[in-house]
């Protein structure tokens, strides 16, 4: 029986031949890998190998939805893209909300798989079963807003569009893809992959809908969704903090716990944080918006009405962007930060990586590691908003030192040399996100083990962030609860991060939002089971054990993807700044992150061998990943639990 929820169809597009074909989504694959991130991992494992260069025509870009996408379920507007990342060379994925994902489902596809390279700029226009290779020379070079508007005006306002800007076209290694104007597929350079394929945009319109296996049972899920968001224990704070102020609300709170990255992550406390806080930004807000099917509604549109940056209209800025372009650069002018956020959105740059390559340059300059000759008159001093704005343009168009920074902080440091590597804050080549492992210890193991590099969205835990005892007891038991809740202790953080990584793997495959799962912690495995079975009719999905196993399967597959690329345990570490430089100021003063014990515990619970950094053969067998085992054994001798190794 064909499950519901899914469309059961995957669209394969070859840009080189300008041909497309629809193939079925096999039910057994849906059962094992759910959809979204899991489905993309399965497809990319099979379609790629270690010899494929990320910016070559052989790389594959997967645009995937999950079974919940397009339904009335918590934040079910989300979708994801995955590919081999040009910035890290390993697993790359990025998720966005907005309204594009549901439209893919309504057009009749669970996923779109794009291969090859067009000989000239092209966009894909998808109207249900009809796929048009739309010549796009006239869109090439345009910013994301203009390109979006031209597509909508010429082809229909009811289309939804994802598009790259000049940064993607110029293959800046951390170029983003913008969706419905302001939703960003930000991280891991997915925009550069589109640029390398000469693919400017994808626009979709669908006339169908998402069908449900058991409408009566699903009605109960929908009612529970409404209840949780209006009368549940987290409903009020979700509305009054996250909803009302959006993610900028976090700035003051993170500063109060000493976790606000400041001055290229030199410290975690900034005395001017209130200038870029949620409250400070409220006065620039012109609209409170939301993504598709979301009751939290944290997406806001901001406008600067007067002064130097008058006329700026942009989505956000979100917490990550405020930190990256604000406190991280010591820029305390909120209007400048909003403007920089707009520039990044228009050019199609990831705000996180952009801010971190700029702060890297600022610190190199302060320490005399870059020469005036390399800078050609630029003054990269802390708090210098003009220079930061200039650098965003130089990165986008690969001019001067911008061409070096456009390679990402890891490569830039290798080019600059002179010990600058120490100040290049990345894991596996991806710039660090807006946390600090010295002030929130679990972040260390989150960053170190994240499959896409230093990143909060694969496994950032919030149970310890402010210490939610009830949740800790529920998930880990009363004995562990105190230690789990202490963000300044390394205790049990390996297991907590492993649990969160599994939850997020599932959330990223269903697909739901991190808001509602990461914070507030409203939905856990049990809710997802109650959601997926009446939606799809796949009986296994009603079983939390099956879902946890599927989540582990997905995490393992993505980690093995990186192993195939030669990226193993020696890369699962964090920058020395966080392990050996005690936090200099603020509430977490004196702390460093002691990574190893957490990492060891993580490996233990992941059922991977800590010594070799490889999965036990049995782990892959138990998860039904024999096809992965066979391929990995061509290059590694996988340890067996029976014959030694730590267990």
């Amino acid at each position: 029986m064909q499950p519901k929820g899914y469309t059961g169809r995957i669209l394969f597009i070859d840009l080189t031949k300008q041909k497309y074909v629809v193939k079925p989504l096999e039910v057994s694959i849906a059962k094992q890998f759910i959809g979204g991130s899991g489905l993309a991992a399965y497809l990319l494992w099979n379609m790629l190998n270690e010899n494929v260069h990320p910016l070559s025509p052989d790389n594959v870009l997967v645009v995937a939805t999950g079974p919940a996408t397009g339904a009335l379920a918590p934040s079910a507007g989300r979708f994801m893209v995955a590919s081999k990342s040009p910035i890290t060379g390993i697993w790359g994925e990025s998720h966005a909300g907005g309204f594009f994902g549901p439209e893919i489902k309504y057009a009749g596809y669970d996923a779109i798989v794009i291969t090859g390279r067009s000989s000239e700029p092209v966009s894909l226009i998808i109207n249900d079963d009809e796929v048009t290779f739309y010549r796009s020379q006239h869109l090439w070079g345009l910013d994301t807003r203009t390109a979006t508007n031209i597509i909508l005006d010429s082809l229909g306002r009811d289309l939804h569009v994802m598009v790259i800007g000049p940064a993607g076209e110029n293959m800046v290694k951390f170029a983003s893809i913008m969706v419905d104007y302001y939703r960003a597929l930000g991280r891991t350079g997915m925009g550069a992959v589109m640029g390398s394929k000469n693919l400017k945009a994808i626009a979709v319109r669908g006339s169908r809908g998402v069908e449900v296996h058991n409408p009566d049972e699903f009605t109960k899920v929908v009612e529970e969704f409404l209840y949780i968001n209006t009368r549940g224990p987290w409903a009020l704070p979700a509305q009054l903090s996250l909803g009302k102020y959006g993610t900028p609300n976090l700035v003051s709170l993170m500063n109060a716990i000493g976790r606000l990255p400041t001055k290229n992550h030199w410290t975690g406390y900034w005395e001017h944080a209130d200038k870029i806080s949620g409250e400070a930004l409220l006065k620039y807000r012109i609209s409170r918006g939301s993504c598709f099917s979301c009751m939290i509604m944290c997406k806001h549109i901001t406008m600067v009405g007067g002064g130097k940056y008058a006329g700026t209209v942009t989505g956000g800025p979100e917490y990550e962007s405020l930190v990256s372009l604000g406190s991280n650069l010591l820029i305390d002018n909120a209007e400048a930060v909003i403007y920089m956020n707009q520039l990044c959105n228009l050019y199609g740059l990831d705000t996180i990586s952009t801010g971190k390559v700029i702060s890297f340059l600022f610190e190199c300059y302060e320490r005399g590691l870059v020469s005036e000759e390399e800078l050609r008159g630029l003054k990269p001093t802390w708090g210098n908003e003009e220079t930061a704005i200039e650098l965003i343009k130089m990165i986008t168009y690969r001019q001067g030192i911008g061409n070096v920074l456009a390679e990402g902080v890891a490569r830039a440091a290798r080019i600059i040399g002179r010990g600058s590597e120490y100040y290049a804050l990345h894991v596996k080549g991806l710039e660090v996100s807006a946390q600090d492992p010295r002030a929130h210890k679990s972040v260390g193991v989150t960053w170190a083990t994240s499959v896409r590099g230093a990143d909060h969205l694969r496994s950032l835990t919030t149970v310890d962030e402010l210490g939610y005892r009830d949740i800790a007891i529920e998930r880990f038991g009363a004995e562990m609860a105190n230690e789990v809740c202490n963000r300044l202790s390394e205790g049990y953080k390996g297991v907590v991060v492993k649990d969160q990584e599994d939850l997020f793997a599932l959330v990223d495959s269903v697909i739901m939002c991190k808001y509602g799962t990461m914070w507030p912690p409203m939905y856990y495995f049990d809710f997802i089971a109650r959601l997926l079975y009446p939606l799809t009719g796949i009986e296994e999905f009603s079983n939390v054990k099956h879902l946890r196993e599927a989540a582990e399967r997905i995490v393992n597959l993505k980690r093995c993807f990186n192993l195939r690329e030669g990226i193993g345990k020696e890369y699962e570490t964090i920058p020395k700044r966080f392990t050996s430089e005690p936090m200099p100021t603020g509430p977490a003063k004196g702390h460093v992150c002691n990574l190893e014990p957490m990492l060891k515990e993580y490996y233990l619970y992941r059922r991977w061998d800590y010594n070799t950094g490889l999965p036990y053969g049995e782990t892959l067998e138990e998860l039904g990943l024999n096809f992965v085992l066979v391929e990995l054994e061509k290059r590694y001798s996988l340890p067996r639990r029976g014959n030694g190794g730590s267990s």
Binding site: P237, S241, K244, S252, L253, E279, L466, P587
Partner: protein, 80 residues
């Protein structure tokens, strides 16, 4: 005197961001807030987060405050 900083809706509804309170513990601080602020904090008491020098303290905490600390009062939030 303890410096109390109010954030988010608590600040907005109370119309004031900072108050000084003569108190020796968090529980005393909350007790001695100006009545209008006290009512607002009371309304959200289940969702209030108190941070003192990076440490999250319970609303009933009797931990001794020296007097040079800042007490931050938030409505709970989280994430990254």
């Amino acid at each position: 005197m303890v410096l109390v900083r109010l954030h988010g809706v608590i600040k907005e509804e109370g119309g004031i961001g900072v108050v000084n309170v003569d108190a020796k513990s968090v529980s005393e601080v909350l007790h001695k807030l100006p009545s209008r602020i006290k009512d607002i904090v009371g309304k959200y008491i289940k969702y209030v987060v108190i941070v003192v020098d990076g440490e999250i303290l319970h609303v009933n905490s009797e931990k001794y405050l020296e007097g040079d600390e800042a007490v931050d009062i938030f409505l709970v939030a989280g994430g990254g």
